[in-house]
């Protein structure tokens, strides 16, 4: 077995172990935790352990095997799976758009100090504009925008909102990474009269990778959150976000149901993060490793 395969098997089993551990902790808390929450130093810090707030693991799991609604022949697991797959594709699209924009902006900002000074505060501000204020605008592009025969499909609005959350960490992290190239290396490139673009691709980007990897990780989960929220907010059907809100309405009578969709969203995020992690391993495999005994 190759060391890589061995490591991935190890990692996977560690993950499974950690999930099991969380499950055990959850049930343990249900066993000893106060039904109606507890206070510590006057603040409610202990969560409630009753079945509405914290359903049993097995009731959540068994919910996957039961039909979504009575009389329906689709079991929840297939609905959640389909939803997650739908949202996954949107997230990938959103991530791709966000990464393109984020990296593009960071390059622009690294190139022109003026742009960095002028733009960065507004990028920050853009992240504090709630989707609810933007949703009407972006949703109204659906069906309206028509450039060169390209009509704006509704799902694209959701992907754009995913991109909206993804681009910012990517832009900031990449910007920092691009500036992190050692001055000696910059001097070398300068001695070759390398154009800015050449320096960018041959030096700054490779040097930026340690900064870009965490940025892309954040961007990936940002894209997922953005897409799921957009599904909730703009009424796009078919994805995990829509399922979550629809199941959330039934949390009173069927508390386990919403958790099935929540786990679907978590799996979605993990899949996205997995992509980034794989690219991390690939990109960093030839870098000097720390010596450890």
């Amino acid at each position: 077995m190759s060391p890589l395969a061995r490591r991935s098997i190890y990692r996977t089993s560690m993950f499974v172990l950690s999930v099991v551990l969380v499950g055990v902790l959850w049930e343990l808390y249900k066993l000893i935790g106060p039904e109606d929450g507890g206070k510590l130093f006057g603040a409610a810090v202990l969560p409630r352990s009753n079945d509405t707030a914290m359903p049993h693991i097995w009731s959540m799991l068994s919910r996957y095997g039961r039909p979504e609604v009575r009389g329906s022949d689709r079991q929840i697991w297939s609905v959640v799976l389909a939803g997650a797959w739908f949202s996954f594709r949107l997230s990938v699209a959103g991530f791709a758009i966000g990464a393109t924009i984020g990296v593009g902006l960071s390059v622009l900002m690294a190139r022109f100090k003026m742009v960095e000074r002028g733009l960065l505060p507004y990028l920050v501000v853009s992240q504090t504009v709630p989707l609810i204020a933007l949703a009407p605008l972006i949703v109204s592009w659906g069906g309206k925008v028509n450039i060169f025969g390209f009509t704006w499909p509704k799902w694209l609005s959701a992907a754009v909102l995913g991109a909206f959350l993804a681009f910012f960490p990517i832009a900031v992290g990449t910007l920092r990474g691009l500036a992190s190239a050692p001055s000696a290396s910059l001097e070398l490139m300068s001695s070759y009269a390398a154009s800015w673009k050449q320096t960018l691709f041959k030096l700054r980007f490779p040097a930026a990778i340690p900064f870009m990897v965490p940025a892309f990780k954040l961007g990936a989960s940002g894209a997922v959150v953005g897409v799921v929220v957009a599904e909730i907010s703009t009424g796009l059907k078919g994805g995990i976000g829509r399922l979550i809100i629809e199941y959330a309405r039934e949390a009173t009578g069927d508390p386990a149901k919403v958790f099935t969709a929540v786990f679907g969203a978590a799996a979605l995020g993990l899949a996205m993060a997995g992509f980034v992690a794989i690219s991390d391993v690939l990109l960093m495999r030839n870098r000097p490793k720390e010596t450890t005994t």
Binding site: P130, S140, V172
Partner: protein, 264 residues
Amino acid sequence: MTTSTRIQRVAPPMVFGVVFVALWESAVRGFDLKPYFLAAPSKIAEQFVKNASRILEAASVSGTNALVGLIVGTIFGIAMSFILSRFGFLNQLITPLAIALNAIPIFVLVAVLNNMYSITSEIPRRFMVTLVVYFIVLVNVAKGLTQVRSTHVEIMRSYAASEIEILRKVRVPNAVPYLFTALKIAAPASVITAFVSEYFGGAQNGLGSRITSNIANSKNAAAWAYVLGACLLGLIFYIISIVLENVASRGGVADNTNNNNKNK
């Protein structure tokens, strides 16, 4: 700082802002966009002035939530990245969970947390901000703690430095720029998380509930006035993180990056 460099620093964002607002205003006027769709900046400014005291009040509620979450999340994020960089075992155990947790959109988690705690308390919201900030800090700082030059680690090991000492003297200084990158991302994220957490329940005293209720009432200009409040809050957090960065890296690191930038 001389006046001219100060102008250089302040002018670009000013110019950009003025141009942006002017475009917006003329778009609203030129295309006769109705207020229910998009409010004009002038109307927003008017509402902002009119509701200034309410905005301040709401911003202080959301801002406190954001601040508490930002501080707690940063502390936990740093602490956890230390633990993870020290114990690879825990790292593999916890990182995927942290990623999974963070990929769950806040709406849902707030809903779950609201049920686990009392919907009338601020704890679920602060918890939420903490979680978001925690993750941002964690992934960045963890990378900063591990991406150290191997020569440096070797030198420390030749001093028989304990892992703790290597952490303090090599990993931490190396992670400082990563931490501030994280804070720059986390500052606006904490603000938006704080008031987005208000959308689906809880006391109606923060920016989030004001924004939703005004939008629902088709009072778009007022809603955007609160959004403006949120933006300013985020900007203040961001500026604080930059100031902290400058203070923290008075010494070599900052100078070094300046030095880098000087070379073409």
